[in-house]
């Protein structure tokens, strides 16, 4: 199967026309929902995700409370119509795992020690999926957390790199993810470069890993700028409204 499809040509051009180091098109908008304390809508290539933050609020049931800090409960969910063959609604093993690693990544940057016994709930809804939804979801969550005014050390951001047709490339698309050699999604704290989330599947040599890792970090930095712009945009338009 792998050899059947050429994912990258000899000139380094990928099937969707991108070069090896190009990201798909990203569009971020902050503060899109009325009821949520903070929200973000994000389009990343063919991915469409929505993130909403509620809290800090009392964690229920009581036994999940931590007397010393807040807990972060991220919930990654895919809409039934977001994939080619309809997905049964509700959590499956994959989404539970992704929810867990995203929660843990966010806990590292949020000042959880300020809110004992509280819960910060981050809901990530994947409305349209096309490879890289966990990176899109975590990136959207970062913006929604800022929009909710949750104190953080940094705005978390995620991006993946991978290997297709023997070459290390940035931000795998659908076919590249399905038929490529390796996928390496990471999330970082862009100010310090600390790694908040890291997963890999496939096959990479140590050198290739290093190359892919550096590439993904670079991708994260680019996405981080787009995140900041979206947040600035929201406050600027809010300021403009006040002036009117």
């Amino acid at each position: 199967m792998k050899s059947d499809i050429e994912l990258i040509n000899s000139e380094g051009r990928r099937n969707d026309g991108r070069g090896p180091h190009d990201l798909r098109k990203i569009k971020i908008e902050a503060g899109v929902l009325h009821r949520a304390d903070g929200s973000c809508s994000l389009e990343w290539g063919g991915n469409k995700v929505l993130a909403a933050v509620y809290g800090p609020r009392e964690a229920v049931p009581r036994h999940v409370q931590n007397p010393l800090r807040a807990i972060v409960q991220a919930r990654y969910n895919m809409a039934a119509f977001s994939v080619e063959d309809r997905k049964r609604p509700g959590p499956d093993r994959r989404s539970v795992e992704i929810s867990k690693v995203i929660s843990e990544a966010l806990e590292k940057v949020i000042l959880i020690e300020q809110f004992p016994r509280a819960s910060i709930d981050v809901n990530i809804e994947v409305l349209d999926a096309e490879a890289g939804t966990r990176c899109a979801g975590l990136t959207a969550a970062g913006v929604a957390l800022v929009d909710a005014g949750i104190p953080m050390r940094d705005i978390p951001v995620a991006c993946a790199a991978g290997k297709i047709g023997g070459k290390v490339v940035l931000d795998l698309g659908k076919e590249e993810d399905n038929f490529g050699d390796a996928d390496l999604p990471i999330a970082i704290s862009p100010r310090t470069g600390e790694v908040l989330l890291l997963q890999m599947d496939g096959h990479l040599t140590v050198d290739e890993f290093n190359e892919a890792f550096d590439l993904a970090v670079k991708g994260c930095q680019t996405v981080s700028e787009i995140q900041k712009k979206a947040i600035m945009q929201k406050y600027q338009s809010a300021a403009a409204e006040v002036q009117e």
Partner: protein, 299 residues
């Protein structure tokens, strides 16, 4: 009931006595309605509906499967609604609770009983293979009146749905193809289809070129909801009004001005006159909403 809604109830009824509502609307006025279609690429049809701050997304997926034994020649539709915790601080994750199930069933009934989808045109091989239509409703932002927002989203999504024939070609054997082709040639013409799927010159090669076609639909009824608070009847309740409402009435009307479905909810009651009032308001608002819906699907 906690204390905040009790205070709000006081405020809302006081305003009502002066003929006003909290957001400045008149009693039978809807909030601004926006409909955006084809918002999800992976879905066969989709629509995002905003009524004021309420936002609902509906996606349609289709598949091929077995018909029910008692209706061997009709397609199958099913509706599910998710009150995802993204939409409101009060929504919890987990299996759908009774309010989500009521919503899904009311939307389902509106579509099924009014025969908006011509399910008999979705049979491929009688008793064996039919098209399945899955209507999935996602509440994104809850500021009241989910009934109208959800049914409108479902209709807009269905009206823009393309039956994904080309994607399922390999699942159909020769028998299915002949039966499907015969059906389309003999019995039905579907508006908007340039070439009949599985035409006479079918070969394996040009099967790939067969077009997807629009879901066969008829003019749908539009539902309008009003709530009663004390003696006031408010159309299109926002969240604050809905929380304290005594009774709720949804009326679906068609393009001829006839009533096609009704559902009363909550523990309060309506008088005959109030029901008349709601029906009149549903007819007037329904016409306006129908225009918005037709515009959104480019009709």
């Amino acid at each position: 009931m906690t204390i905040v809604p009790i205070i709000k109830r006081d405020y809302i009824t006081k305003l009502g006595e002066q003929g006003k509502r909290i957001d400045g609307r008149s009693f039978d006025q809807y909030r601004n309605i926006e409909i955006e279609t084809n918002v999800v690429n992976k879905a066969e049809g989709s629509a995002r509906v905003k009524i004021g701050n309420t936002q609902v997304l509906c996606g349609i997926k289709m598949d091929i499967g077995e018909p029910f034994p008692d209706t061997p020649i009709t397609g199958v539709m099913s509706t599910a609604a998710e009150f995802i915790p993204l939409a409101s601080p009060d929504f919890e994750s987990g299996p759908p609770r009774e309010d989500a199930i009521e919503l899904a069933r009311v939307v389902d009934r509106g579509v099924r009983e009014s025969q908006v989808i011509q399910l008999e045109k979705l049979c491929i091989t009688p008793g064996e293979k039919v098209w399945l239509v899955f209507i999935d409703i996602h509440i994104l932002d809850y500021d009241g009146n989910l009934f109208d927002a959800a049914s409108l989203a479902a209709l807009a999504a269905l009206l823009t749905t393309k039956v994904p024939v080309s994607r399922f070609l390999k699942e159909l054997n020769e028998n299915d193809r002949n039966s499907w082709q015969q059906k389309l040639l003999d019995l039905y013409t579907i508006p908007g289809v340039d070439e009949v799927p599985f035409g006479a010159s079918d070969t394996k090669n040009n099967l790939q070129a067969i077009n997807d076609f629009p879901l066969p639909m008829i003019e749908p009824p539009i539902s309008c909801t009003a709530v009663k608070i004390n003696d006031f009847v408010f159309f299109d309740p926002c969240f604050d009004e809905e929380v304290i409402a005594d009774a709720r009435l949804t009326v679906a009307t068609d393009h001829k001005g006839d009533i096609r479905a009704m559902q009363k909810g909550l523990s309060g009651s309506f008088t005959r006159d109030e029901i008349q009032k709601v029906i009149k308001g549903a007819l007037d608002n329904g016409q306006e909403i129908r225009k918005t819906l037709n515009q959104s699907i480019g009709k």
